[in-house]
Amino acid sequence: MTEIAAKVSGVGKSYGKTKALDNVDMALHKGEFVALLGPNGAGKTTLFHLLTGLFVPDQGSIVIQGHDIRRSPERALAGIGVVFQQPTLDLDLSVRANLVYHCRLHGIYSSITSDRITDELQRLGLANRASDKARSLSGGNRRKVELARALLHDPAILLMDEATVGLDPASRATLVQYVLDRCEQGDISVLWATHLVDEAERAHRALVLHEGKLIAQGTPERLIAQTQRPTLAEAFLDLTGIH
């Protein structure tokens, strides 16, 4: 786990007088599953907006697979798959049409598009829903389609921005397990933002973001030991001063 997939150095971002991120440093290694923990308003979504090039940081740099997102955004974005917090499926299109749209935006050759889509949907148990309108899917299945879509172009990094919000516990657990498996099977690195601490328990590392600052990082066990609390959830509450 030495090769760095993404590196964030000294990143800051303000909205007017509000500092959303303040001098954040973090690295995501190849094959690593990193949980980004933070209460609402901690700056997680802002960090994701910067990592996906939707915003640019006021200070600092973000390098994805050796490409600075400010200088060569296209190359940086080619290596990223994202599941946004807000649903981003076109509900009027079929599942397959949504996925084809993504493949074309990412320049995947038409000859392999169909196989890739079938493969990803099969892995998630949605192969029989390919022709259905996205609108007809349950919340959990919509998220699965968004996850399949994020993986279609074979990204090196998967960004999950509070992707389980609004899902029932079973759907949440399935999604976490699936991403963990994919992480362990291949070379994909995952940054999983959440405020639900149980999702971070099996992460290789957890980062704690609070009021725009990265206040702690380490394995879940280390964070527990550091705070001398019995669980990661309590350690998180302790670190963010909610206790």
Partner: protein, 269 residues
């Protein structure tokens, strides 16, 4: 940016617009009913009131329906341009814009794809309207159908770029009605779409006349009007191309990630 990738992205964005258009069965109907009403009710009713003198590009006296046809073609382009703007705001609210703008392609190109796709629909609707004109025996030369194509495309792009620019500034879908009132109607009425501009001058409406001279929509209408008769209106062409470049450049600037137009009021997280 590889050409194959660029082409694929254009087919993706264009294909989505076309599929959505085909799904909205009433859209083509309403796009045609609007100008058809003007052509068949307004123009017929007023043809004896509005005497149109011989003026370029016409070489003889013409029916009023012939006069307003280019204006109504412009109307189709104007409404569709604004509809594209509405679609952009909708996509932004629904999060679909994020998906588009995180594609590994230059942002200006992605916006150009959107503009091109919207214009494609505009042009198709204008030709559907031309068929309607033919059915109702409005005397438009056949050659004009071909000559006017570049003018229709350029005007469609210019008005689409205006829609793109407006979508930067329309914060919410609910504000769209305001755009209709403050953009579409003034642009349409303060132009040469329904009456030649000298009529305004003759009527002493000097301010309206001056406003119309600076209205890019009026120039789009004149560009199409002249093109239908195989002529190029140099001033109109210059204004339309100038406005197209300016509107598009401003829209690209508006969608710059530095300005963060996608999420003006970022949600906490």
């Amino acid at each position: 940016m590889k050409s194959n990738h660029a082409l694929q992205a254009f087919t993706a964005v264009g294909g989505r617009e076309v599929i959505k258009f085909l799904h909205q069965k009433g859209r083509l109907f309403s796009a045609l009913v609007r100008p058809a009403l003007w052509l068949l009710v307004f123009a017929v009713g007023f043809q004896n009131v509005f005497g149109v003198a011989v003026l370029p590009p016409y070489e003889t006296y013409i029916e009023y329906q012939v006069y307003i046809a280019p204006g109504l073609m412009g109307m189709v382009l104007l409404f569709n341009g604004m509809q594209s703007s509405l679609a952009m705001v909708y996509d932004r609210e629904m999060g679909l814009m994020r998906l588009l703008l995180t594609a590994p392609l230059p942002r200006w190109y992605l916006l150009l794809c959107k503009l091109g796709a919207g214009t494609l629909l505009s042009v198709l609707q204008v030709y559907a309207f031309l068929i309607l004109c033919m059915l109702f025996r409005v005397d438009i030369p056949w050659s004009g159908w071909i000559y006017a194509l570049p003018a229709i495309v350029l005007s469609g792009l210019m008005l689409g770029a205006l829609g793109l620019l407006l979508s930067v500034h329309i914060k919410q879908l609910e504000n769209f009605a305001g755009t209709m009132n403050f953009v579409i109607f003034p642009m349409f009425f303060i132009s040469s779409a329904l009456y030649p501009l000298w009529k305004l001058q003759e009527a002493g409406a000097e301010i309206v006349y001056q406003l119309a001279r600076f209205n890019p929509f009026a120039h789009a209408v004149e560009l199409i009007r002249f093109a239908l008769y195989g002529q190029v209106n140099g001033v109109a062409l210059t204004v339309v191309v100038g406005c197209l470049v300016s509107f598009f450049a401003l829209a690209v600037y508006g969608y710059n990630p530095q300005r963060g137009v996608l999420m003006r009021r970022p949600r906490p997280g």
